[in-house]
């Protein structure tokens, strides 16, 4: 845990976390003196989700996501724990002038006033990342601690120590164009309730997660999304070229394992959340569900390994797209059961 000073001269303990948004949310609350772990923030923000969106392409590949839409996690945690946050977005109208300059000036002013500020950025333009992290993704969250000479001191939750970021990089990253533009989105805490009600927040969050996974009208999200993606994956070698099919599969695995998920597409992180709630409520049912979630995460991980073998073309005989899709279907079935149980358990919990 690296120690660092904010612009107000307060010590800031950097927390290495798996996911950017939950890490930033947890760090903002911890800065205000509330002890919350990353997994807790993830669970209270109802971060767990699934979605496969074939009609939105990112550099030629369809989007697969294992978490809720960027931005919702933070606002849900803020609402459920009773924190008052000030958020600001810069819209491009013909009368709004140079929004890039306004955005950077506002950031500098807030830092001088002694706040730590969360920002949504484009990960490609943050040049402190090596090549393997960088792709045009407009939902990466970071915390700016203070201004330094020609740049800013940045606590990136994905990395295990704070880094320096050039002002020019940050400017580009905040005002990047493309799908889901960040529009210079920034947020900071005005006041936070000193004794947040974790129990009722957890119950609301669990019910919300079950709703999102089980009762969705769209075929591309929730459990229906997993089944849809499984079907697509099984069919893909017949429809697509061999290389393209492998590239699609690699993208799914990448979204599952790489983009700051904490392993197995957030399933392990959610299991950690369930474990914490089991301690909070003293409920053995939740502890069982946490173990079940871990088991599901292990199947997702197995899916990733099978897919990786297909990608590497090792053992062509036994590993097929059908097997990878089949594993996904198993995950869907077990997750359905898990969320139904969780729904029942959450309804009976007393806050």
């Amino acid at each position: 845990m690296a120690q660092e000073l904010t612009s107000a001269g307060k010590p800031f303990s950097h927390l290495h976390s798996a996911h950017c948004e939950s890490g930033v949310t947890a760090a903002l609350f911890r800065d205000k003196g509330i002890n919350i772990s990353e997994a807790m923030a993830f669970g209270i923000g109802s971060g767990i989700f699934f979605g496969h969106l074939p009609f939105i392409k990112w550099v030629g590949l369809p989007i697969t996501t294992y978490r809720s839409r960027p931005g919702t996690l933070f606002s849900k945690v803020a609402k459920r724990l009773g924190g008052e946050f000030i958020t600001k977005k810069y819209h491009r109208f013909w009368w709004s002038g140079d929004i890039t300059k306004q955005g950077m000036d506002d950031l500098r002013r807030l830092l001088r006033e002694g706040n730590i500020v969360g920002l949504t950025t484009n990960i490609y333009w943050l040049s402190y990342f090596p090549d393997r992290f960088r792709f045009q993704f407009n939902g990466h969250n970071i915390i700016v601690l203070r201004e330094i000479e020609n740049g800013f001191r940045v606590a990136d939750p994905v990395l295990d120590h704070p880094v320096d970021c050039l002002a020019e990089d940050l400017e580009r990253a905040r005002f990047a164009r493309g799908p889901l533009e960040p529009k210079g989105y920034m947020y900071y805490a005005k006041s936070v309730r000193p004794d947040p009600d974790f129990r009722s927040a957890c119950i609301t969050a669990m019910k919300d997660s079950c709703n999102m996974m089980l009762r969705t009208p769209f075929p591309y999200v929730g459990l229906r999304g997993i089944r849809y993606l499984a079907k697509v994956t099984i069919k893909s070698p017949d429809i697509l070229e061999a290389h393209e099919a492998r590239r699609r599969l690699a993208n799914i695995v990448r979204m599952q394992e790489e983009v700051g998920t904490g392993g197995a597409g957030f399933r392990f992180m959610y299991a950690a959340f369930l474990q914490e709630t089991a301690d909070l409520f003293g409920s053995s049912e939740l502890a069982d569900l946490s173990r079940e979630m871990t088991a599901i995460g292990d199947i997702w991980r197995e899916f990733a390994v099978v897919s990786a073998r297909i990608i590497k073309q090792r053992g062509q005989t036994e590993e097929t797209f059908a097997k990878a899709g089949g594993l996904m279907l198993i995950c869907a079935g077990r997750e359905e059961q898990l969320f139904r149980d969780l729904d029942k358990v959450a309804r009976n919990l007393k806050s």
């Binding site: 904490g262 392993g263 390994v305």
Partner: protein, 127 residues
């Protein structure tokens, strides 16, 4: 060393949740093998595509704009938004003969959007 180990050998590690022997979750820093392989495939196919485009530009079949667009991992729609030029015009500018006749003002917009200098934008790295 295999390609996937090479690109993951930069000392910047991410955190992964792991179940330890006591049934508690702890954060760990080793990337799983499946992740390494899939990232390596995506990065190597991206590099191969970039190299192919570079050769086509040198052969005069594509414009240098195409190369820099691919280098920044953009598609014509995103580049059009970033540069403030209509998408159909960006797609047209990917043709070398159209690109060669572009105004300095249009080129200037591209240099700002792609963060390259004007000299760079007119050619591609050779060799």
């Amino acid at each position: 060393m295999e390609f996937e180990d090479e690109i993951f050998n930069d000392g910047l590690s991410k955190a992964y949740y792991k179940h330890n022997d006591n049934g508690q979750y702890v954060l760990e820093k080793d990337a799983p093998w499946a992740e390494k392989v899939s990232v390596a495939l995506i990065i190597s196919s991206r590099r191969a595509l970039l190299e192919e485009i570079r050769k086509e530009v040198l052969a005069g079949r594509k414009s240098p704009l195409c190369y820099y667009m691919e280098m920044r991992q953009l598609d014509p729609g995103m580049l059009a938004k970033a540069a403030g030029i209509a998408t159909f015009r960006v797609k047209r500018h990917l043709r070398p003969e159209v690109f060669a006749r572009l105004n300095p003002s249009v080129l200037d917009r591209y240099t700002k959007a792609l963060r390259v200098t004007l000299e760079e934008l007119k050619t591609v790295p050779n060799g």
